[in-house]
Assembly symmetry: C2
Homo-oligomer: 243 residues x 2
DNA sequence: TATCTGATCTTTACGATGTAAAGATTAGGA
DNA sequence: TCCTAATCTTTACATCGTAAAGATCAGATA
């Protein structure tokens, strides 16, 4: 906190004081709108604009910079405007996380298209998972690091559910068996939990820079992606069993 | 934010205004000190007291409640006192994380003592890992969820390093080979990354309640610990290879 | 078409937080 | 005994989330 950046609270704060002179002559323009639009009192699509603004702020300033007021500034509206559309910060973060999950699901879905061999198909999803997180670390943080998410919101609940279903489905395909909706064997649950834990844990550690230590000691120029690949394919034991 | 709890900023704010009357008659007692001690201007061991206060606040109010001012209140000193010992919030969090890593390392070290079979020994550490996180979710959050950690601080760097060394060592033992300090084969790195990612990812998902979905569909009364066990021991494929 | 109602957005206000700066107090060495 | 530096408190300020009340306007209703 305590930034030294004294940017004005909003971009349209110079209005006729309070005397309703109705002098609608020259109102300040809204943020990134074309110089033609007049910035009406009612935005029209503020909700979407705020979500996009939030995404920009997140990419520019990271998780710590993503505040209600910063988003409002970015969208060129008053700092209290977001409240009406999202209730509170939790609401905004939750809706933004839903956006993230949908992006993420789309990336997952189109990941294994080009894969030909079974091995390539098995590796496509994990790689896409990590790739998404690396390309959108802020968004991944919103989805998996924040504690302020409200999963009772339908949009977030649905998007996250779909994400999980996709994962379970992929595991089922790999195990060549049908994964039921309402019941799992221990081995099935273990397979899903293992895959998810592994790739999620790897991603978190990677984003937090905690794998630098390992990567630095690996053979010259080993990338994170290569390490992930080895993690998923290399034999568990160092030596063949029974030696 | 915006709590409705109007507790006084500090427990000792009623001092002689400014006239140095030196009327040291009755000064307010410090927080939880015995009714005998007189709460001197200099605490004597404020640093340690603040860290312990921080741990209490963390367990009581969670990560969101752990603020510099809350810690100062808990310790019964002025809100600016922590600054002198930790610089800023990042400093306090980092030192607290170091405490956590040391607790964690101790728990890891004493985990595999009672294990007799090789399998039990292999499972002891992961179980202790998850158990620590479940017993101290706030602390685990400080260590692995917060973005405000300064690893250039020697205490944190050391404690975290020791934690990693312990992990690498355990993996080496399991693989029956010596893990070098400065060089790793790809398979070694993969084994370490796999173990760490798996148990860390599992822990995060578990703490975030994201495994409830799986646990609920598992056979009646399957615990998280049982799922972890299966995750680490169950065969990867559903059917034996070649069918 | 004129009016009215509710949704949308702005203003204003308040308590809380992190941090900086200056003052008060005291321990411990010169 | 005095002085310096460390320790702790006060005071101040920018920023944040949130609540409440006022301003504006779109669209239905008459």
């Amino acid at each position: 906190m305590a930034k030294t950046d004294p940017k004005s609270e909003t971009a349209r704060s110079a209005r006729a004081p309070s005397k309703t002179t109705s002098s609608a002559a020259s109102r300040p323009r809204r943020g990134s709108a074309s110089a033609k639009t007049e910035s009406p009192y009612h935005h029209g699509a503020l909700r979407e604009a705020l979500l996009q603004a939030a995404e920009r702020v997140l990419e520019r300033d990271g998780l710590a910079g993503l505040t209600l007021r910063a988003v409002a500034r970015e969208a060129g509206v008053s700092h209290a405007a977001p409240t009406h559309h999202f209730g509170d910060l939790t609401g905004l973060l939750s809706e933004l996380a839903a956006v993230g999950f949908r992006q993420f699901n789309a990336a997952m879905a189109s990941s294994s298209d080009a894969a030909t061999t079974p091995l390539a198909r098995a590796l496509a999803r994990p790689k896409a998972y990590v790739a998404y997180a690396q390309a959108h670390p802020g968004m991944y943080g919103i989805m998996f690091r924040t504690e302020r998410l409200d999963y009772s919101r339908p949009s977030l609940h649905e998007a996250a559910e779909a994400s999980f279903a996709g994962l379970a489905n992929a595991i089922g395909m790999m195990r060549q068996e049908q994964i039921s909706e309402d019941a799992l064997t221990l081995n099935q649950g273990a397979a899903i939990a293992r895959a998810w834990s592994m790739v999620h844990g790897f991603t978190m550690l990677l984003l937090d820079g905690r794998l630098e230590d390992i990567l630095g000691r690996l053979p010259e120029g080993t990338t994170a992606e290569r390490l992930l690949e080895a993690m998923l394919t290399a034999p568990i034991a160092a030596k063949p069993p029974g030696t």
